[in-house]
């Protein structure tokens, strides 16, 4: 049986852990198979979980989150017959498949859409905990926005510095109001549970918001401009389907492969004009074709646009 390990955020984090869970559930529903799932409770438990699963014969073992990188590097060689899949991190071992997403590209498209949808020319970004991964989202978004609206204004806020920052919808909502008061009329939230508060406050205030990781358009139909979707669910689904035969190596899930995208569905249909669709398509083509290179914040800890 395959196995899935969630990171500390837990499987209902409204974010990528939950997406992974949905992928696994889809596989279960389609194939009728069963899988093991584990939630972390402490740092020291990561290794324990990996080893116990490997010993129990689970294959492949899928885990979400960069935090597993170190441990996997150590554990994978001990179980050469087991295949491991790690999401959001590269681990170079012969029995590991690493899946990374180009969040900057998806966020770039979100930025393009935000620029189109914004009437004031000012848009916002609200991050959860102030860590590099979230800056990657922020930087891609900023690049897309500036490309479409070079003199537009971008307001950036982070909720906090402790893990509590992922679960503070009150502060998320307040940040929305602060950004609105500075003119923002589209706000992109990459903040886990805090994001729920962001989307809510934006909907309450009658401005647009952008969801993240999973498709969150349906949370407030007609009020969420789009969601920057990471295909974590697909990746997990694919990995489970491939089973023990899964190919080791690095798998970059980018725009071209559909790994990241901006969600278009019934909920946001009224919000998306034809020009927007055109702009997104043009940008997608340019990125896929290599004309536009979206800078990845993680490579050098800097962002080319402010």
């Amino acid at each position: 049986d395959p196995a899935l390990i969630f990171d500390l955020g837990g499987k209902f984090d409204k974010s990528f852990n939950e997406a992974a869970y949905n992928g696994a559930e889809r596989w279960k529903a389609e194939t009728g198979g069963s899988y093991k799932e584990l939630e972390m409770q402490s740092e020291a438990m990561r290794e324990q979980a990996l080893r116990r699963l490997a010993q129990s014969g689970a294959n492949p073992i899928v885990m979400t989150g960069f935090a597993f990188g170190e441990v996997l590097n150590k554990v994978a060689p001990d179980y050469p017959d087991t295949k491991f899949v790690i999401i959001d991190m590269v681990v170079e071992q012969p029995n590991v498949q690493s899946i990374v997403f180009t969040e900057e590209q998806g966020s770039y498209l979100a930025g393009v859409l935000a620029a189109q949808a914004s009437k004031s020319g000012t848009v916002g970004f609200i991050g959860g905990m102030d860590i590099p991964l979230i800056h990657k989202f922020e930087c891609g978004y900023a690049q897309g926005f500036k490309a479409a609206k070079p003199d537009g204004k971008l307001i950036i806020n982070y909720t906090g510095t402790t893990p509590a920052a992922w679960n503070d919808p009150v502060k998320g909502g307040e940040l929305v109001r602060a950004q609105i008061s500075q003119g923002a009329d589209v706000i992109y939230a990459a903040a886990g549970g805090t994001g729920i508060g962001v989307l809510q406050a934006a909907a309450d205030a009658g401005i647009l918001s952008i969801g993240v990781d999973s498709n969150q358009n349906h949370l407030h139909p007609g009020k969420v401009l789009t969601s920057m979707v990471k295909g974590v669910d697909n990746s997990v689904y694919e990995a489970f389907k491939a089973g023990a035969e899964i190919q080791p190596g690095v798998k970059v899930m980018d725009l071209a492969s559909g790994g990241v995208s901006v969600a278009m569905d019934e909920s946001n249909k009224p919000l998306i004009s034809d020009e927007m669709t055109a702009a997104v398509e043009a940008a997608t083509k340019a990125i896929v074709g290599g004309e536009i290179k979206v800078h990845d914040y993680m490579t050098d800890n800097t962002c080319p646009v402010e």
């Binding site: 510095t161 500075q182 549970g193 949370l219």
Partner: protein
């Protein structure tokens, strides 16, 4: 910084201070009666959960509010049981209540809603909407007063007004009523109340339950007023800030208003200016986020000096050794 920005920051401060103010007044009742309470956080959290759950189930914010009050009151009752009836250590009881609320809310939430401790989002009548006060719109054009009335004073949820009304009410109860006199006395010298023939136990339970009710309103405000639903650990340390504000206010109602406003203001400013550019250096956002905590320490150290708590505070009333 223009007038509109100032107004918006103040407006934000008012919203952010509301849960602090309610929790601070809650602590004031309890501690003035001699029962220390570091479990404000847990009570608010429990209230946020129960109010969101019931508001979702019934679609009524009012029933949610009642449930929030019930949830916090249950925790308050536990605190009373431990620290009044069984003369336990009040600090430990508070710590335990914080843990208990933190665990129970998620456990129950997961059991009921299966969303990992979150409740489904609330909408419509399940939330307290913003109230526009009379003439807000027609007064808006009046210079200065107009915007202040329309932006700052009008347009909050009912619970905000309740919180502000609690300040004069608390003052009045404390200093103008029999109950207030006895409450203050029992926090200073319970034996004086006892020998006057008034039950110390009943008075303290009364104070602790009022504390529960106010924490309940604070929690309900968090979950059904300012946001729309419960998220685990959503109080995010506000109970502790309220406690700091209580000490800062030296256990006095009007000072509590001022102290919580200051904390609300600090948070609003940090929200508005995430990277404070001071010319020479830019203060990183991490430190702007920690600003309320840093300022708390500075204020406690620099301006408050020795805040003398109610004399019988923290100690159970033991008549017979």
């Amino acid at each position: 910084m223009d007038f509109a920005t100032v107004l918006q920051i103040l407006d934000s401060a008012v919203r952010l201070m509301t849960p602090l103010l309610l929790a601070c007044l809650a602590g004031l009742y309890s501690e003035r009666a001699g029962v220390f309470d570091i479990g404000l956080e847990g009570k608010m959290l429990m209230a946020a959960f129960t109010s969101a759950s019931v508001a979702y189930a019934t679609g009524s914010a009012w029933l949610g509010l009642l449930a929030g009050i019930a949830g916090a009151a249950a925790m308050a009752g536990l605190h009373g049981l431990a620290s009044i009836s069984f003369r336990g250590n009040q600090l430990i009881s508070g710590v335990a209540i914080n843990f208990l609320a933190s665990g129970l809310t998620v456990l129950l939430g997961q059991k009921i809603f299966g969303l990992g401790g979150r409740t489904p989002s609330l909408s419509g009548a399940a939330r307290f909407g913003e109230i526009t006060l009379p003439f807000a719109d027609s007064l808006r054009p009046v210079p200065v007063i107009g915007p202040v009335y329309a932006e700052l004073i009008s347009g909050h949820t009912l619970l905000v007004y309740v919180a502000f009304a609690m300040v004069p009410l608390t003052w009045w109860v404390l200093y103008r009523t029999r109950f207030g006199l006895r409450l203050r006395a029992v926090g200073e010298n319970p034996a004086s109340v006892d020998t006057a023939g008034v039950s110390v136990t009943r008075l303290r339970y009364g104070a602790v339950m009022i504390c529960g009710v106010l924490c309940g309103i604070a929690g309900a405000y968090l979950a059904t007023g300012i946001s729309a639903g419960f998220v685990k650990e959503m109080t995010a340390g506000r109970g502790f800030i309220a406690l700091a504000a209580l000490i800062f206010a030296k256990w006095r109602p009007w000072s509590a208003l001022f102290a919580t406003f200051l904390f609300g203001l600090m948070e609003a400013v940090a929200n508005r200016f995430p990277d404070l550019d001071l010319g020479i250096i830019t203060v990183p956002s991490m430190f702007m986020n920690a600003l309320p905590y840093i300022l708390t320490v500075i204020i406690l150290a620099g301006f408050v000096g020795r805040a003398i708590p109610p004399r019988a505070g923290g100690e159970p009333y033991v008549k017979e050794r």
